[in-house]
Each structure stands twice: as C-alpha cells, then as structure tokens.
Symmetry: D2
C-alpha cells in the first residue's frame, strides 16, 4: 500500500480523525444485487460521533462552511445559528438523507425521553454525495435501521475506502470514498493539540488530478463521467475554538481540496463541518448561565499552524480515500477501478 | 368572522397566495387519537406548488432568508447556491421533516424517470414548526404518503387556520397555523404585479401580541408556554425578480412579523422562502445556454412598493392564521383556544 | 419635553448608551454658511468609544448586521472576520467617511507608535447617513480634525437630536439625528446586565410613521422627500456575549425599527454594530494564547430578555431622536421641523 | 523573462485583464525618500476601470467574495446588497484607503454634478494590502491626487510587478505586487468569452511557495517575515453573469491562490471583486423599469469552463506578479529581491 505524507506537521498515532480523543466512526456498507440484474445497492452509511457520551445532553461547538452548495446536507441552519452540534454527523448517498435522518432521529429519541415532550427538539446533520454511477439510488436502498447500526457500531478504528457511505463513490475517475488523516500541533512542551479529518470523496475529472505529486504510477483505467461531484469534509479538533474560529478552519479545507486538482465544479456539494471537543455545552444545567470556558486568542502563530495543518490534512485524506479504495462493481455492470491496482 | 386590512395596497381576488397565477396549495390534516388516551396525532402536511407543470423540469427562481435559525428546514443550501426551486415547498412538524422529504422525493422520482439515472438529483425544501404542545411528535405520526397526498390535492383554494401543517400550531398562546394574504402592486395602466404569502404560525407569548391593532376583543383564555416558537413564511410573486432581489423581499417579512409583537425569540426557526413565477428555468434545453429574460431595474419606487406591501401582507397573514384557526384539542387533554371564540 | 417608555424593562440611570460602564460619546457639530448663500455645512461627527482605555491595545468583542446594505460603512470586513472592535465607532455624513476615517487613523497612529511599524495595522469603523437635504454634502465640509475632536471630547453624557453626525438628518419627514436609550436586565439579586443603544436616524416617509403610539399630537409640517434613507444603530452591552451572540442581538434591532413604521426602504443603509465590554482582548500579551473567559449559555430566558429589551430600546432611541431634535435650517433655505414644535 | 502557462485554456491577446473589452488599468507609483534617511515612500495607487464611459451612469454587475477578512477594503456592503459597481476599483496600501477613496470621490463628484444634489450618493471600492515592510506607511504618503492621477492615466496596457499599488508589496518573501492574466473560453464557432484577472500580491512565506511548478531556479535571497499578508484579486469578464454567478466565479480564486502554496494565513485580507461588462445598468432611465437582458443558464459545461479557467488565471497572475517585479529598496534600508534576479 502506498503511503503519503503531506506537509510539515506530524500526524497522530492512527493518522485518523479518531486521533482526536473521544471521536468515533462507524460504517454500514450495503452491497447487494437487486432481482433485476442491472440494479445494485452499492452504498452505505457512515456515522461520526463527536464523543462517547450523550450527544444531545453534551453538545459540542461546531461550524459549517459551504465551499459549493449544490448539495442536500441537512441541519446546517440551526448549526450555524447556535454554533452547536447535538447529534452524530451522518453521511450517505443523496437520496438516503431522509432515511438516515429518520433513523438517527429514532435513535436520539430513544436515548433521550425528554426530546419533543418536556424539552425542545433535536437537530440532525446528514451529509451526502451522489453515488448513482454505481448505486441504484432511485431504489432508495438505505433505510433508517442502517443509520442506527452505523451509530451503534462506531469505534475509534476507522476503515477507509469503499466502505460505509463511501461504498459507491468515485473520485477523479477512480474508486474513492472514505479517507482520513490527522495532524498534531505542538502547543507546550508537554501538550499537543490534535486535528482530525474524515472525507467522503466523490468529485473530479481524471485529467484534473495532480496524481504525480502523490504516487509514481497509476492505473490508467479511469472512468470518464461529467466532472460534477461532491465532497463532504468533517474536521474534529481538541483545540478550544469558538464557532467563528471553527468556520475559519473549515474554510481552509478548500486549500487542500484545490491542491489535489479540484476546481470546485458547478455541480458539487462541497461542504465542511468542523467541531471542537474542548468545551462541551450541557443541554440541561442547574448552574448559572454564565460559564467559564477556555478560548484561544487568535494570534498569527497558532492560527497559521492550525490553518496550514488543516490544508495538509484534508489533501492527505482525499488522496488516502483513493489509495485505500478497492475496485468496485455496481449497477449496469459498471466497474470503477482502484487507482493503484493494475 | 373578523376581517382585517393592513396597509395601503389592495389584496388580490382571494387575498391568498394562490392569487399569484399558477400557485397551488394542498393540505393533509392528521387528527387521530392513539390507543393511549394521552397521545394524539394533531398535525399535518401542507404543500405549496409554484406552478402546475413539472416542477423539476421547469424550475423557478427563488431565495431564502433566515430570520432566526433555530429550525430544521431542509434544502436551503442548494437553493441558496443556485437561486432555484425545483420541488414543492413542503411544511410539517419538526419530526415529520424526514418523512415528508422522503414522500416528496418518491413523488418527484415517479414524475421524473431521469432523476438519479441519466440526470442529476433533486433538491426538496421542507420547512417545519414544533407542534409538540398538542401533537405527540415523538410518535412520528407523519408518513411519506401524507406528503404525496398533500401535493396531489393541491388547488388554488387555500384553507386557513388549524389545517395541514397548521393543525397543531400555537401562536401568541392561541390556536395558530396556516394564514395567507396577497397584495396587488400597480405597474402599468393595464397590468398589476401580484405578491402572495402563506405562513405557518407557531410563535409568541400572549403578553407580546399587539392584538388591539387588529380586533376589539379577544378570548382571554390563552395558554402560557415558553416564548420560543417559530414561523415559516412563503412568499410568491409574478414580478420578474432575481434571487438576490427575492432575498431582499424575503427580509422584509421581518417587518410584518415584528409588528405583530414578535421579538424573534431565541428558540425560533423563523425562515422565509420566496420565489418568482416570472422566469422559469428549464432543466433540459436544446437552446443555447444564453437566455433572454425579463428583469427589474431596482428603482426606489417599485422596490419600495414591493417591500412595503410584503411587510403588510406578512403581518396580515399572521393575524389571519389566528382569526381563522378553531379551538383544537390535542395530547394530554390539552386545548388551545381560538382567539375569537368566547 | 415628551417622554416615552417602551416595553417592560427598566432603563439605566441616564437612559443612554453610556449607562454601559465605560462607554463614552462625543459630538462635533458643523453649522456654517458657505459664502454662496445657498450652500450650508449642516453636518457633523459623532464618536462612540467602547471604553476609556487604549482601544487598539484592549479590543472588545463585536459584530455587525446589515439590515439593508445601501450604505458606505467601512471596517465591517475585518470586524466580521475577527469579531473584534479596535477603534472608536465613528458616525458622519456619506461623503465625510473618508475624512473621518483619515482623522481617526491619525489619532490612533498617534496613540500607538507600534501600528504600521513593529505591529500590524488598524481597522476603523465609520458609519454614515446621507444628510444632503440640509447639508452641502458635495462641498465635503467634514475634515479629519473634526473626527479627532469628536473622539477627544467624548464623555459619558450623551446629547441627542440635531447634534454631531445627527445635525443634518431627517426622520419620517421631521428633524431626526442622534437618539439613545438603555435597558437593565435583571440577572441575580445583586447584579443586573446593561444594554445601551445609540442611533443616527435618517429614514422614513411621514405617512409611514406610527406616531400615535408615542405622542398625542405632532407638528403637521413635515417635509415630503423620497422614502429612501438610512439608520445606523450602535448597541453596547456588558453581557459577556460572543460575536455570534452579538450578531443575534444586532438582528433584533430590525424589530424595533419595524415597529416605528419603517419597511426598510430600498435606498437605506440600515446597519447595526454591537459590542460587549465584558471580555477585552489584549493586542499584545505575554500570556499563553489560551484564555479563560466568561460566556453566556444561550438559554431561552436570558436570551429572550436580551432580545426583547433590544427591540424596545432601539424603538425608543429612534423616537427619542425625533423628540429631542430641534427645527434646523440648511442649504437652499430648507427647513426641517421638529416633530413636537408648533 | 520567464513565461509560464497554467492550465488548458488559451489566454487573450495580451494575457491581461484588459483583454476584456473596455477594461482599463492605471498606475501611480510613489518612490521617494523622506528627509529622514530611514523613511521611504515606496507605495502607490492602481485603478481598474470596468469601462471607458461614465461609471456612475452606466453601472456594471458585480460581486465580492471574502477569502479571509483581515483587511480594510471599502464599499463591499453596498456592492453586495445591489450587485452593482459604480466606481473604479482602486488599490493602494492599508493606510492609503481613506486618501484614495477621498480622491476617487472628488473625481466622481466632478464627473457627475447630480451626485449628492439631485440624485443619491456614490459607492467607491478601495482595496488594500499592507506594504509597511518597505513603505513608511505611518507617514501616509498616498494623497487624494494620486488616486485621481491613477484614474486619469488608465489605459488598456497593464504594467506588472513593482508598480502602482504593487510598488511596496512582498510575496513569498520576494518582490511581488501587480500581476495579470486572461483566459479565452470557446463559446460558439465565431465567438469566445473572455475572463481577465489582476492581482495585488502581498502574502506568503518562502517555505510555502511551490516555485518548482513554475520556474527551474530561484534567487535564494528571500526575506523572512511573518506569514501574514494579503492579496486583492479583481476579475473581469464579458460573460453575462449575474451577481450570484459572479460570486461563484470569485470563490474559485481560492483554488488558484491555494495552488501557489498559500494556506490563507490568519492575518490576510484576501478579497475578490468580480464584475461583468455584459449588461450595463443605467443610473437614470426614461424606460420602463422592466429590462430585457442576457443571462447564462448555469449548465455544467460552461460553468466548469469558467471556474477552471478562473483558477488557472488567478494562479498565473500571482506567479506573474513575482516574475515581473524588480528588486526594490524601501524604508530602513530594506531590500526585497526579485525572485528571478541573481
């Protein structure tokens, strides 16, 4: 397996979003032929949990950034207003968003009996890319129970490539999907900050991929489909950033994405969600509503370390999604090849 | 029935959003006791169709504005990026969003065989308010078929009050829900422009309602619940406005809302969606991608007529939702009274 | 002098933005006939200082909100990016912005020798309304030294009406200009929060003013000019709000503005700047970049108190600008009457 | 002189923003020692004119995009609200913004006697970068007359490098400043569209520059200063784009910027202004306010051509600013070297 190393910062132990303490990832992969020989369920669900506790009762500070908005991600209106994330971040295919949101809602209602009864409602974040080249997306293969299963199987191990929501995705004409990376930012002599990233890659035209920056030799057998296509980028960190600061970090994802060769196509839903695990916000609290919390003074040094590391990490996670994804067969007998298989 | 008349512009023939030619509204009302005597399905779905043709193949120009974003409306990311609406605008309760989006997706897929196969995907707009005071929202009474039925029964008659998505809503402590109004803007000697508005009202504290502006005498029997709560405002027009101009119009909804007494509470999802039926945009076209279209030069006179009329119309639609809504019984034996019944 | 009292919250001791501890206001009024008998300098400068220390070295958290953007306010790009205010907020006429910004820059450079040499630059906020009905705005009567004088004469007394930047402004066809108000929000038994507001009012058509809500009898002698026109609204508070929370507060200004009768006209630069004096941010610091700061958990109760009080306070400040402004004569022999003089 | 060619689209005849018909550029360069031997005026002004007519009376459609907002550009509030540009776009150093805006105002007032008298006001766009490494920025060497001179000397020839506003700028540790490029997009067999770009480059750390993509060998003698620093990017086109579409184009500048090595540093004012010369909007008009105009239907093919070409063109303009800039001496005896001189 090729390995790559982008930029001047070290990665965490697993080079994975789960290097940010408490973050977990779960995948459910759907890979089934329908009775009709041309139809194939080649899709899935991926859940990113900001921490292991009750996500509704211990919210995390979060922000989103829309690189290009030709996409159907749900939940960003409230996330932007309040700067809070109170559910897992769910990823799936474009037409699976309702089913995944429904399943996640059922899960959260079951975990929290107060929701919709004695307290307010809950806001669920579901991102998507369009896997209809390989997946029979019109047949709506994703069901609510797949979302619940992805949440329940989440752990601190993160498989990459053609798994979970990444099962049917295509990137630069090759098999893409889930990729992850992390970066360690030195802070004091005995403490580092951690940044982690997970992408769902589904964009790009083969002619645009700057592959020679990453690997010597690629499989020439790419597919040529229109260059619309999307990426969902999730960023986690333990730096105590505010929602405004997280949005600034999220924007730097564009740098990493651009360096791979994307020009952010017209038909892309390129969307970033960033959260910090540092200052959790309780839903219920007996305390005064005045809190004391940690924050970062936005100085040139630390912010540029965070921004530069984010750009590197996103670029690496995208390339990793390509290097880890195996050749996959889907509907209409279509195959999308691994970039490194020969 | 009390009638009110706000501002200096005349309304259309029906004083209804369907005064904008081609716009249709459909309601499905759900009103059923569950086996448990305390649980009640007191909710519904409302569909607003921008025109009678194929909404995916003939898109309309649209914009959204977030007055306050504590809400779960879907589809705004893409609507904002492209300035286009390609589905009905669906309204329901907060936990019905997934089911309604799923049903609308099924309806649109059935109408358009190309979607998700030979052409791209579709973006569905679903707005919501929280009706959990009267409705057993945790039991998820809204199903996908309710959305399909609301679309299919849409017509140019618009019932108001405790119907469709408005069935379980509460406004200023009284029964609220669906309200509508329209305004006619003189343009030339033989042509007028039309503006229409439909609201789903679910906000406000009794002490804040400026009722004496509208009616002489009100039922004193309001409920006192927390002042969070939301409003969804849909604006239609036949003025050939661009998406930027529609957003400016949408912002003037805040003026009408403020005049009723709202201070736009912390817990509100106060969201506006505005569209114009004037310049339809084909999904498929054999023509050149250079179009000729009508547009409005933003001059003081016409824009101020549109803005002032929008403010008046939204205010009137909110008051109308109160005047038309009948006393309603819901879960836990709770009743919310009509503001005018005694 | 008529007095008014809007809403259910008490005002501070002076009912003035300077009720927020440390905030100061200074005015320079320019009222001079040019040699040409038709030309008149009827304008001025107003400075709002967030605190009495070095504003560059002790920044305050801030946000802006654009109600309508037909205006020329400077400095908002950086204020929005960083959530910080590092200069006085300056108000003047539309064509005085450059001179006032230049003067403020000179003042700040003189106070801070490091700026532009060993440290970075400085961002200055200057807001404006168009006073060209009374003021010979093309002759550029405002000079840099007027800005410096307004800063230097700032105190905790705030004169209202036709003073400073308010000298030539017109509101609802009557003499408008500077208005101020404050509100006290109960917090604990022995501590309150304070909100203060200062407006520069220059908008509205006489027919739209809801005057009967405020005063029994008005001077009928209003002027009738086009209904474009603007308002700048400055909000100060000692509540430890983040920049995102301050933006939410700033948005509630629209509620107060709407209640006076404005529909936010096409030609208006209606702009809000809000800051908190609670957590000052040092420009230079020997400390770690990790800070501990106070923050507010956004709960329904406290946020709705702040929002409702803001709406009331802005409405009252606008009405106060009318009640305090004296009949004023300007260019071309034009007079704009006080709303209460007969 | 090295030449570079980035991407698959051809450039216009001059590879310059003035390849877009009617666009003109003017520079005034200030290069004077002050009496004090350490102080140096090493700065200037650049004017970009969207067309050769009266810019106030024939406005062009425009948009802006803030890549990072640590900057002091003026005029964006109104440009964003109305989607219109009605002045030259002026570039200078950070503390020259007021003087340049003042001079441009004087120029526009002189050209248009109605402004501020019988019609409304005018909105001027001035962008800036901080040239204080070489320029004695605290001494405010830029005066209003420099802005007027830059406008008056504008032509369709565009000098690059250490000229105009670019005189004192530093990019990746080398002499930067003004760079330009253009791209031709095939439309029909006998018509092309044109895109042009002009940058003011003043950002980057030497270690981050991906120089080997562009030139074989560089001068090793870069300066090492903090990596904050900015870029102003101006994009012109004759494609009939709306303001929303222009904003989408402006966003693709980030792609080109990222590919040079920038991670968009914390301290950057990275700001894009884009305009189209296709549909001019008259300030005064006897016609109906309903216009017929050309527009582009946003299809994958044409939009991706425009987006990809924009990314390439911005990247090339940045590199060109480095290749064209000559070694420059400024305050405190400081020198910044040309990247290609040895």
């Amino acid at each position: 397996m090729s390995t790559i190393k982008i930029g001047r910062y070290n990665s965490g132990a697993k080079n994975c979003i789960t290097d940010v303490e408490g973050v977990k990832v779960g995948h459910v992969t759907i890979d089934e032929q329908y009775e009709s020989s041309n139809e194939f369920a080649c899709t899935g669900v991926t859940a990113i949990l900001p921490h292991s506790g009750n996500l509704f009762k211990e919210k995390v500070i979060a922000a989103s950034y829309i690189i290009n908005g030709f996409g159907k991600t749900t939940g960003l209106v409230q996330l932007n207003e309040l700067g809070l994330l109170e559910s897992p971040i769910m990823l799936t295919n474009t037409f699976g968003v309702s089913a995944v949101t429904q399943g996640t809602l059922q899960y959260m209602l079951q975990q929290n009996e107060e929701i919709g009864d004695t307290t307010g409602t809950i806001n669920i974040i579901t991102g998507e890319c369009n896997d209809s080249y390989l997946n029979s997306i019109r047949l709506l293969p994703v069901k609510p129970h797949h979302a619940i299963a992805a949440i329940e199987e989440a752990s601190d191990v993160c498989e990459e490539g053609a798994v979970g929501a990444g099962k049917g995705m295509v990137c630069f004409g090759y098999k893409g999907g889930i990729g992850t990376a992390s970066r360690r930012i030195p802070y004091t002599s005995d403490q580092d900050f951690m940044l982690g990233c997970l992408v769902l890659s589904n964009f790009g035209n083969p002619r645009d991929f700057h592959y020679s920056k990453y690997i010597n030799d690629i499989n020439q057998d790419s597919i040529h489909k229109p260059e619309d296509g999307s990426i969902i980028i999730v960023i986690a960190t333990d730096v105590p950033l505010s929602d405004r600061q997280l949005k600034r970090v999220a924007k730097r994802s564009t740098v990493g994405l651009s360096r791979t060769g994307s020009h952010i196509s017209h038909g892309s839903g390129d969307i970033v969600i960033a959260f910090s695990t540092a200052n959790k916000v309780p839903h219920f609290s007996a305390d005064s509503f005045i809190d004391q919390g940690l924050s970062i003074r936005e100085e040139q040094g630390i912010m540029d370390d965070i921004f530069a590391a984010t750009a590197d990490m996103v670029e690496e996670a995208i390339v990793s999604s390509l290097l880890k994804a195996k050749t996959t067969i889907g509907r209409n007998g279509r195959a999308v090849k691994s970039i490194i298989d020969k």
